[in-house]
């Protein structure tokens, strides 16, 4: 059944509209704006849910001449992602209403959060690659504002900037990938197109077209970088832990259902298109590496949110690895784990927020026995934490089991080194069990005396994680229910073959079941020696700063910051003549390079006929030019310059270009007048001429002159040649179409009116710049 355009478009547009209305709503209801956001999110949830089970593309044209349209593609995968984002969005809004109640910039916070949710829904439903890119970058932009919510804290600004640079940088790679796909579509679909739905429908043709063009591996690589940056895959994972500087509800939203899942979502989306051996090697390896590194770093984390952030990276690695494996189990693992992880990780982040809010610290060390004071929170943490660890019969177990199955299948099929896949997966899972137990340890046992008093959290704070905890519990008890409802359709959209998914507790011993058993036993056995393990991992991490991407990021940033002023001092040194040198040299170099690349630098000179009159005028002009340079005083120089200008005007008249001549004359007069104005102000003596500077200026003038000469020679048509089609069109159509016999003017105001309008704006901007520059100088603004 085809999806309803109106419903899908409303689901995407509603959060943006609401975002625009947020400041107004905030003025009316204040901190309770969170409930307004929740209502919007629930409406989006309902709209997205109404499309469940539908499949197909709908849209309206946007830029028809470029075949860009606002197209939406609906299938199980898109609906699953949209449902998760809006559902968890609603809970986060409710939670924010009480968690953020004391903050000041709430209007901005809620407006950005709504726009962020809208961007996520946009990514989920967009069927046009350019629209995907647009929404993709919008999520980066919104997350920048959200992570940097505490604008007065250096940490927060640092984290926001890092997230922005990494994810927007990744977005640029996506843009390159989109260009590649669109080039391949020229052959596969018959026309240059950005239509993702059509590409997915013709996946085989697209793949062979990409391979033919030699673009398959490059496309794969840039898409991997884009998704890796967004989904915090090694080695671009480092922004995610820093992003915990954001307010806790934002972290819950960012890390569970939205920002970081966008990369995974896109990997799943392109899996039918780009799947192959290269795909598996790339994504399975990167995913498992991230899974291991994230889990190891989570084990040594000292802060609850830090632990959860690294754990998010690890679980994203699991999903990417799942999609990397080619068997249908891989798609099952990726899609089902995306669903499970969204539920339990959002709940755990909200729990971390409650602990920080009520206990006053997020440090893992020294916390224990919180179940006495926070019983409901502890119960939620228990269910979701065990699910994160992958302990049966909790929900995370089923999806991890599917990953083990996919890894085992891949190793069994390929043999050799591929056996590393299941081995690494098991190792990373052991670490996962370890850090999950470490997290749960803060709730069990006796409360230490150091923790003074624990407040009771309000119902509005506990309800959202409780809802997620109940949802996790339901999926744990009856996983088949969730699979049948939403997950199976999603798997179908990301896998080549149609799936037949059955999940449940194992009834007999298979290799994946054995792997799970090993994981749990080893994790439980290693827990008593956790301290020693932490020291060992910490020593490895601490001993090799050069291996940490964060170190490289800082070096790159400080290097850029230091290089900026150095370049500025050279180019932008406050002397007008330096600016002129740079501008003229750059313009000449670019123009000459352009000629060299296209038509060649040597113009064809033949049959140049010059009348004696023109020769005489030009000779006078040359003499005047020499006089300008060697003039003893400014007055003589200006007058000589005017002679030069008027000679050019006369040349135009002789060459039958009255319009140009008129313009030249008028402009020349104006220039002369302006010179008369400023002549008295010019100093009579500047300085002794530096030979080097003089030589540089001479070379530059020769180059500029040569460039202008070449431009004229290359641009003017041969004397004997027929006028081009465009010239003929202008000459013949000027009177019937434009109603004017002055062809130049008709071109300016009629045929090429748009160009003229653009020039008008340029001229106006120049005037404004002059006014602003002089006004600023008078105000004496310094740094």
């Amino acid at each position: 059944m085809a999806p309803e355009l109106a419903l899908v478009a409303t689901a995407v547009a509603l959060p943006f509209v609401a975002s625009g209305a947020t400041p107004l709503v905030y003025r009316l209801v204040g901190a309770r704006t969170g409930y307004f956001g929740a209502a919007v999110a629930i409406a989006c949830f309902a709209l997205a849910g109404s499309q469940l089970g539908r499949r197909g593309a709908v849209g309206v044209p946007w830029v028809p001449s470029m075949d860009v349209s606002l197209r939406f593609y609906v299938d199980g995968w898109a609906v699953l992602f949209a449902l998760l984002a809006s559902a968890i969005g609603a809970l986060v809004f409710v939670y924010s209403a009480s968690y953020m109640a004391d903050e000041h910039t709430l209007a901005r916070y809620y407006a950005t959060l709504l726009a962020f949710m809208g961007s996520i829904l946009g990514v989920a439903f967009a069927a046009d690659l350019l629209a995907v890119f647009l929404f993709w970058e919008l999520t980066s932009l919104c997350s920048f504002v959200l992570i940097g919510h505490h604008t007065d804290e250096a940490d927060s600004r640092y984290a926001a900037r890092m997230a922005m640079i990494v994810t927007v940088g990744g977005g640029l790679f996506l843009l390159v990938g989109i260009a590649f796909l669109s080039i391949a579509a020229t052959e596969a679909l018959g026309a240059r197109s950005f239509d993702l739905a059509a590409m997915l429908a013709n996946a085989d043709a697209m793949e062979s077209s990409l391979r033919e063009l030699g673009l398959f591996v490059p496309t794969l690589a840039v898409v991997a970088v884009a998704a890796g940056a967004k989904s915090a895959q090694v080695p671009l994972h480092f922004w995610l832990p820093n992003a915990m500087a954001a307010p806790t509800p934002v972290s819950a939203f960012l890390h569970s259902a939205t920002m970081v899942k966008v990369g995974v979502y896109f990997v799943g989306r392109l899996r039918p298109l780009l799947g192959g051996d290269e795909w598996m090697v790339l994504f399975a390896t990167v995913g498992l590496a991230t899974m291991t590194a994230g889990a190891a770093l989570a084990v040594v984390a000292t802060d609850i949110k830090e632990l959860l952030a690294y754990s998010t990276a690890s679980h994203l690695g699991l999903m990417v690895a799942g999609f990397g494996f080619q068997s249908v189990y891989g798609a099952e693992a990726g899609a089902f784990h995306l669903f499970n992880h969204a539920l339990f990780k959002a709940a755990l982040f909200l729990v971390a927020g409650i602990v920080a809010h009520e206990v006053g610290t997020r440090r893992l060390a020294g916390l224990s026995g919180l179940w006495r004071d926070l019983p409901v929170t502890a119960a939620v943490a228990g269910v979701t934490g065990l699910s994160m660890a992958g302990i049966p019969p909790f929900s995370g177990f089923y999806s991890k089991e599917l990953l083990f199955e996919a890894a085992y299948e891949a190793a069994h099929a390929a043999g050799g080194l591929a056996w590393l896949y299941p081995a690494v997966a098991v190792f990373a899972s052991v670490l996962t069990v370890l850090y999950s137990l470490r997290l749960l340890a803060i709730f069990v046992g006796e409360r230490p005396g150091a923790v003074a008093s624990v407040h009771r959290p309000s119902a509005a704070l506990v309800a959202p994680p409780a809802v997620l905890g109940v949802a996790t519990a339901v999926v744990s008890v009856a996983p088949q229910l969730a699979v049948d409802a939403v997950v199976e359709a999603a798997i179908g959209a990301t896998a080549a073959e149609s799936p037949d998914v059955h999940v449940g507790l194992p009834t007999h011993l298979t290799p994946p079941v054995a792997m799970s058993a090993v994981t749990i036993v080893a994790g439980a056995a290693a827990y008593p020696v956790l301290g020693r393990l932490q020291r060992a991992i910490g020593a490895v991490v601490g001993a090799t700063p050069i291996a940490r991407p964060n170190w490289w990021y800082d070096r790159l940033l400080s290097g850029t910051e230091a290089a900026g002023p150095r370049v500025a001092r050279t180019v932008h040194n406050g002397l007008l003549r330096t600016y002129v040198v740079w501008v003229l040299a750059a313009a000449s170099a670019l123009a000459l390079a352009g000629y060299a690349a296209t038509t060649g630098l040597v113009p064809a000179v033949e049959g140049v006929r010059v009348t004696p009159g023109i020769t005489l005028v030009l000779l006078v002009a040359v003499v005047a030019a020499v006089a300008v340079v060697s003039a003893p005083s400014h007055v003589v120089g200006v007058l000589a310059l005017s002679i030069l200008g008027f000679m050019v005007a006369i040349f135009y008249i002789l060459a039958s270009a009255p319009d140009l001549a008129l313009t030249q004359l008028v402009v020349e007069t104006l220039v002369l007048l302006i010179f008369l104005l400023v002549l008295e102000q010019l100093p009579a003596f500047y300085a002794d001429t530096d030979r080097l500077v003089a030589a540089r200026d001479a070379v530059l003038s020769v180059v500029v002159g040569a460039t202008a000469f070449l431009t004229v020679m290359l641009a003017s048509p041969d004397i004997g040649a027929e006028p081009t089609a465009i010239a003929r069109f202008y000459a013949t159509e000027a009177v019937p179409a434009g109603g004017g016999t002055n062809v130049v003017n008709v071109i300016l105001v009629d045929f090429r009116g748009f160009d003229t309008l653009g020039e008008l704006f340029v001229v106006s901007i120049a005037a404004m710049s002059v006014v602003v520059l002089i006004a600023m100088r008078n105000r004496g603004e310094t740094r």
Partner: protein, 149 residues
């Protein structure tokens, strides 16, 4: 200088306006007319100073001691180029009302007018008027602000 300006400025202004109006069929147009008008104003400016336009021609009082940016003439110049941009864009938008693409132009020939017999009215003239206003406003703004330095 002042005598020359007295004689020249009216001639230049009339010439500029004729160039603007005839631009569609004979050499001329908004840009040239604009620059020429600027020349006329610049001549007044060089000969009499910026305040003359206010005090001498329009008979208004000039408040001394205020910055160049608050000067009445400069404000007027700035308004001129904003008006020009508005005219140009509006003339382009006008085409949309007739279901034509933005900025498309047309013309009508009005018959039986005394003396001229027939006059061609081109919609492009409105656009050219916008060009004229922008050029005059921009050049005079720059000239007066930089000149005041």
């Amino acid at each position: 200088m002042k005598t020359t300006a007295r004689i020249m400025v009216p001639i230049i202004l009339v010439l500029a306006i004729s160039l603007l109006l005839q631009g569609h069929n004979l050499p001329g147009g908004g840009f040239i007319a604009g620059v020429l008008t600027t020349v006329a104003f610049a001549l007044v400016y060089v000969a009499y100073g910026l305040d003359y336009l206010d005090a001498g021609v329009l008979g208004r009082d000039v408040e001394p001691g205020r910055g160049i940016f608050e000067h009445r003439s400069v404000t007027a110049f700035r308004r001129t180029f904003i008006l020009g941009l508005a005219i140009a864009v509006a003339s382009g938008l006008g085409a949309l009302a007739f279901d034509e693409p933005f900025l498309s132009q047309t013309f009508v020939i009005v018959e039986s007018i005394p003396i001229y017999h027939e006059i061609e009215v081109a919609s492009a003239l409105a656009f050219d008027l916008g060009v004229y206003c922008v050029v005059v406003g921009v050049l005079l703004t720059i000239l007066s602000v930089v000149g005041a330095e």
